[in-house]
Amino acid sequence: MSEESTIAAPRKNSRAHKRRAERQPYRKPGQSIGRVVVWGYACIALAPLILVLVNSFRPTADFVSNPVGFPTHLYLDNYKVALSQGNFFAIISNSLLYAGVGAIVATFISVLAAYALARWNVRGGSVIVIIFLSGLMIPIQYSALPLFQEFSKFGLVDSRIGIILFYAASGVPFSTYVLLPFCRQLPKDLEDAAMLDGASLGSAFFRVMLPLLRPGIVAVAMFNFMPLWNQFFYPLILLRSPDKFPISVGLTSFFGEHSVDFGPLFAALVVSAVPLVAIFMIGVRKIVDGLATGGVK
């Protein structure tokens, strides 16, 4: 507090006037422009999504004549067509299966590896870490040729197990990247104490250390799930039968077949966006914080 302000204060006789005088000079104009920009951009971010949602409840003829408008009555035929012809229940459960199991396996094998690499001074461990982390920077789709041949050699093309194994592998670099520092900071004494009580290294990990890692593990699993759910390129080349397609590939074939009947297309977009949007809304705080603090993918 400077001398000037203590002298200046008595001159302003009303409290409200003083408060306004403190706030107003430079902040007010800047703030209102700022407010317009942040809310304006919020509209730009949301408007397309809302448009799709609204149009999915209108008959095709209705929005062809009037693209921006509200549904006149509850019209669900678009959803009926999409769900019956697009096989969306099947492809959504496929996506849940591949991305869910893939994310869980990726996280599980990565936490084991990260724990051992972070704490046990494994010989050659730093080389393994570098190889794992190098996967963060490589453009993964360009190594599809040898992968595809490997898959056909082992009979994994068009197999659910194959795609899950690949998903699990592709989650290892990111998971190790996040979990390595997480494992390093765990107290050494706990492991020692468990081992003095006669536990082996393995059971010390599972009984004592794993519960401590739980918050990290949950976050990593969630961040593994999202890109796997959205994965398009690999299911496109590794799967053949439409009943095994995940949502992304299933959506492209639905769009290919229905390119003139627009109503069901809007419904199909809504149906395929809903699961991830729901997850996002449930975990929004965690996801936003996670992205901000370096959970970058």
Binding site: L112, A113, P139, G202, N230, L251, F255, A273, V288
Partner: protein
């Protein structure tokens, strides 16, 4: 007694330490090695082999690379595809850095609505690029697209063009769509970077008579420069990984008229729809893309080290 337990403990520990390390590391190492690392290494090797169908017949030297750069139509397609990737990258990085930073700075003043706004900005980022591509294709559609209708209704109808459908604007539109989708990430990362210094420093700068521009140059810019570098790197890699979005908008040939043909699509066509020496030429192309990324990463890290001294 105590000592003997201790040595015994030591011996078992050393043995079991190796065993446990193997049990813990092998699952990840095997799966990652088989499905990520082996294909990566093999791709580089395959680019130097001559292929007959799916079997390697001989060493090809740089033959596949020569084919890629000289034989029609690869030569023209490769050049335009990589050029499209670079244009896409430049547009995306400018838009995302600029608007991401503006939004992050403005959000600092929005204590109450901040989390809500951040969630809205980040929402499109969660959606798959396939969905985003189809969504914008429908919205910008000239037959019943709401954008067309809205412009007409406000008397700005002649501003409208089928932006995604004409080759002169398709790529710019695509990169704007992609920026719309991923603006949440730069916004969040910049916001996190800006939050690392306490607001007293801004207040102090203001009291010392810093203008807005000076505050930006000497406080905000040094603070966000490392974040900007990371974002540049991520965007570059993402630009060369681009596949889903142009596939949803223009199909596998990068319609309209090849305007959306990018390296990812060309690689897909070379590798999975082509004939002849597809394995060799495809791998050669993959190796080349890998080299571009490696060069850019190295240059950026080197530049960042330089920049740390100056910014």
């Amino acid at each position: 007694m105590l000592q003997s337990t201790a040595t015994m403990h030591g011996v078992t520990t050393r043995w079991s330490r190796h065993a446990w390390a193997a049990i813990f590391i092998l699952p990840a190492a095997l799966i990652y090695g088989a499905f990520i690392f082996y294909p990566l290494v093999a791709t580089v090797v395959w680019g130097f082999l001559e292929w007959n169908g799916t079997s390697a017949v001989s060493f090809a030297g740089f033959g596949n690379f020569r084919t890629l750069f000289t034989l029609y139509p690869f030569n023209t397609q490769l050049f335009s595809a990589v050029l499209h990737n670079i244009v896409f990258f430049l547009l995306s990085i400018i838009v995302q850095l600029l608007f991401g930073l503006i939004l992050a700075v403005l959000l600092r003043a929005r204590a109450k609505s901040r989390v809500f706004l951040q969630a809205i900005y980040t929402l499109p980022f969660m959606m798959s690029p396939i969905i985003v591509g189809y969504l914008w294709n429908l919205i910008l559609n000239p037959i019943f697209g709401p954008v067309y209708e809205a412009l007409h209704a406000t008397g700005l109808g002649n501003l409208y063009a089928p932006w995604l459908g004409q080759s002169s604007t398709a790529l710019v539109t695509l990169s704007l769509i992609s920026s719309w989708q991923s603006i949440g990430l730069p916004m969040l990362l910049f916001y996190a970077a800006l939050s690392t210094i306490p607001s007293e420093i801004y207040e102090a700068a203001k009291m010392d008579g810093c203008t807005g521009l000076q505050t930006f140059r000497w406080i905000i810019l040094p603070l966000v420069a490392p974040t900007a570098a990371v974002l540049t790197l991520l965007t570059f890699v993402a630009s060369f990984n681009l596949f889903d979005l142009p596939y949803a908008v223009g199909g596998v040939n990068g319609a309209p008229n090849g305007a959306l043909d990018v390296a990812g699509l060309l690689f897909y066509r070379l590798a999975f729809t082509g004939t002849g020496n597809g394995l060799g030429v495809g791998s050669a192309m993959a190796t080349m893309i890998g080299l571009i990324l490696l060069a850019f990463t190295t240059a950026l890290l080197w530049y960042r080290r330089l920049a740390e001294r100056w910014v």
